[in-house]
């Protein structure tokens, strides 16, 4: 015979209920009191990193990007550092590290017309270099600039063509 079976589970459920109550009150109260409160529900899709201040979404899907690549219709621009580029990049991509964009720009973009489709990328979900570079390029006159989010990782994982070196 088990000893008062279910008693500990009743106790557990009761305690979980009270813990939840404490957490609810503390969470709401702390958010009410703080100066930098956050909304309980927020539209994160609209807050995407890949939307410009004028509301234009620069994101390009991997499928679209690889299509462009196959057709040879777009130029890929690597926003990461030169060392990361040398260690491996999308085949045919040009290196234009965002941090050096101001003075490397003319050389890197040589021969790319302002009408061509550009796709910037960097590495990592939280990498913002590609978006920054895309905005930079748009300001210099390139109209058709897109961002491949987490580009290097997704490209590599999907077995699309890559190369190393300069």
């Amino acid at each position: 015979m088990t000893f008062n079976s279910g008693q500990i589970w009743m106790k557990t459920i009761k305690q979980i209920f009270f813990i939840a109550l404490i957490v609810l009150v503390a969470g709401f109260a702390s958010n009410m009191l703080r100066s930098d409160k956050i909304p309980l529900v927020e539209d994160w899709s609209a807050k995407s990193n890949l939307v410009t201040s004028s509301g234009e979404n620069l994101e390009i899907s991997l499928a679209e990007a690889s299509n462009l690549f196959k057709k040879g219709g777009g130029a890929f621009i690597d926003a990461r550092s030169r060392a990361e580029y040398d260690a491996g990049h999308i085949k045919g991509a040009k290196s234009l590290p965002y941090k050096e964009a101001d003075w490397k720009f003319v050389e890197a973009m040589d021969g790319i017309s302002e009408d061509s489709a550009l796709i910037t990328y960097c590495d990592g979900e939280t990498c913002e270099l590609s978006m920054e570079l895309a905005i930079f390029l748009r300001n210099t006159g390139y109209k058709n600039v897109k961002v491949l989010s987490n580009g290097w990782s997704v490209w590599k994982q999907n077995g699309l063509p890559v190369e190393t070196g300069e």
Binding site: Q15, V23, A26, V41, E42, E125, N150
Partner: protein, 158 residues
């Protein structure tokens, strides 16, 4: 006599585990309670939760960690806090594994809300696994071998 020593070691291990896990949870909650917006961004980067749940999680999860961490340290409401601790750690483990499997290199957001850390998913997973071991041990102690002095459904009457 031997039995007594064995019991003592077992009890210190149990209380040690409880307090260590409690400190881990309290420590983990601190930075997130201070920076809910930054934590929300980290949750968003995991790309798991629907948008509607991101801010709510960012708001309440740290408080849940603080609450069960404190309860573990003080040593009250152990069935509830140990149960939640297991659930939380297993959810974290799944989230980390899932994002590692699909190659998302994201900030852990485990102990800090800073985005700049170079992500090391293997370390996060290993670390979380360690906590799960401690937490499961406490689960066995509390729910099965009845160390907290609570009547257990699994134990026979003497």
């Amino acid at each position: 006599m031997k039995e007594e020593i064995r019991q003592k070691i077992s009890m210190s291990l149990y209380h040690g585990a409880r307090i260590v896990l409690g400190i881990v949870f309290v420590y983990a909650s601190y930075d997130k309670i201070l920076h809910p917006a930054a934590f929300a961004k980290i949750i968003y980067n995991y790309r798991i939760l629907p948008d509607e749940l991101i801010n709510l999680s960012a708001l309440f999860l740290p408080w849940l960690e603080l609450t069960i961490g404190s309860l573990l340290i003080i040593g009250v409401w152990l069935p509830g806090s140990v149960f939640i601790s297991n659930i939380l750690l297993i959810i974290f483990f799944c989230a980390l594994m899932y994002n590692k499997a699909r190659g998302l290199d994201i900030s852990c957001g485990c102990f800090s809300t800073s985005l700049d850390d170079a992500p090391q998913s293997n370390l996060y997973i290993l670390r979380d696994f360690g906590f799960i071991v401690i937490s499961l041990y406490l689960f066995v102690k509390v729910f099965i071998t009845n160390s907290a002095g609570i009547k257990s459904p699994f134990r026979r009457t003497p």
